[in-house]
Symmetry: C2
DNA sequence: GCATCGGTTCGGCCGATACCGAAGCGTTGC
DNA sequence: GCAACGCTTCGGTATCGGCCGAACCGATGC
């Protein structure tokens, strides 16, 4: 066969992602944290033995890396490129599912509201922050790319975020909003600082994040965000127990 | 199951891409042209009946669209998002294959040299043009994003390319060079104009493109490109017959 | 009209692989 | 040391999906 290496590996990688269980593992890891094998098995809805095989494949084709720590093995996305690939797939997938069923599970609602996209913010909150920066003239955004303006650089410096000389950042297509939010080095640095300032906090067992009152005030000042819709968050549906209860929590050890 | 629609479709789409035959079809369509079913069957190396099934799946999950014309059916990538997804996969796949085998088939050599990436230029030529623009200060490039500077806008206007007010463009990761080339609206407009000016021409039966002598002179003036390495192109290996001969040309009707 | 051609549908075959339970291995904690 | 724990390896089963040839359908051209 005259299969170019590119073609061969393309199918290989896609086939590995193309199993429902493995896909669920990857989406779980899209939060950016490293997770142990048992947690991923539970997320995928399979037995540990099955999950182990899946994880071996994911590591084998370079999508994940392992971190051995005591008797645990923590898995994480191998590179940011993998996260971008997954987001690109979710964006295409969202196009197909949007017209069809819209049951809007509570878990999805929380994710649509605000979540991490590997190393930056996504969901309505991520889009709203990007919008605020654009409206204030701090950010130029268009056609899949974005660039921070001098005023935006100063703004971020005031928030304690010191960027190198790079003003360019990625405009990541948000699969839930079908709009762009801020990614790349600038988006990563902003998100990290927001967590450090206590403006954001992670929702347990999920990629979802929550805006704290301090964060609402801070973002209101900084980017003119109206924090109201984000503070009344759908917390009742994603507080950890109800979402988990709808799945097979019985198979969980705890 | 609590599979969010995103997760379910992620696996669905990946599984569809994950077949070697279908992957070859998609890569063939990455050239940006619409191709008839028979041509795609030949590219995939399967019988028309098998290819028909594959194409139905690709259309079914929204990756391709059909264009009926007489007794032919032309297939093309459904949206630019699909092309971006495929390029993201190729970029990740290139990471894995790079350390391994490097047989460097003649077809790959031509593609590495210069090719279309759906609607813009890629390969060494695409990267060299982007480099030239950056070196001359016409383009700011960094972290997956790029932005045209005022001088770059004037340069493109002189070449007959009129952009709207958007100066932002995508920096597309080149899977063969592991560097960025110019995509987005600006990259698309440039590439289209280069073809219109006769600076570029397509290599038949391939995504590869060739720089014409006029194009070498023009790009030398415009972006300071040294056209020498691109004019002595590996044309002998990709002229159409030798590359095709290595595959099953016997099954071809012509 | 009839032959040709591009493409799809159908039926049957077969290889690949996801799944589980049981057993094994290394680590942790008492 | 011994038990508990997290994870992996192995063997067997069952299902899924790709592949082809043959038949069918619609459009084209003489």
């Amino acid at each position: 066969m005259s299969t170019s290496p590119g073609e061969a590996s393309l199918a290989e990688i896609a086939a590995v992602i193309g199993d429902p269980g493995r896909a669920r593992m990857l989406v779980a890891l899209l939060g950016g944290e490293a997770l142990p094998a048992g947690e991923l098995a539970w997320q995928a809805g399979v037995r540990p033995s099955t999950a182990s095989g899946h994880l071996a494949q994911l590591v084998g084709c370079g999508l994940l890396t392992v971190l051995r720590q005591g008797r645990h093995r923590y898995y994480r996305l191998a590179t940011p490129d993998v996260a971008r690939l997954l987001e690109a797939m979710l964006a295409v997938a969202a196009l197909q599912t949007a017209p069809r069923h819209r049951p809007e599970s509570p878990r999805d609602a929380a994710l649509r509201h605000a979540r991490t996209c590997y190393d930056h913010l996504a969901g309505r909150l991520g889009v709203a922050i990007a919008d605020g920066l654009v409206a204030a003239g701090h950010l130029a955004l268009g056609d899949g790319a974005a660039m921070l303006q001098p005023s935006g650089r100063r703004l971020l410096q005031d928030l304690g975020i010191d960027l190198g000389r790079s003003a360019a950042c990625r405009a990541c297509l948000d699969w839930s909003e079908r709009r762009h939010h801020l990614g790349g080095a600038v988006g990563t640095a902003m998100t990290r600082q927001f967590f450090a300032l206590g403006w954001l906090e992670r929702v347990p067992e999920s990629r979802a994040v929550r805006l704290t009152p301090a964060g609402g005030a801070g973002l209101g000042r900084a980017v003119g965000l109206d924090p109201a819709p984000f503070l009344v968050a759908p917390a009742l549906t994603c507080g950890g127990q109800s979402a988990v209860a709808t799945t097979s929590s019985s198979s969980r050890t705890s």
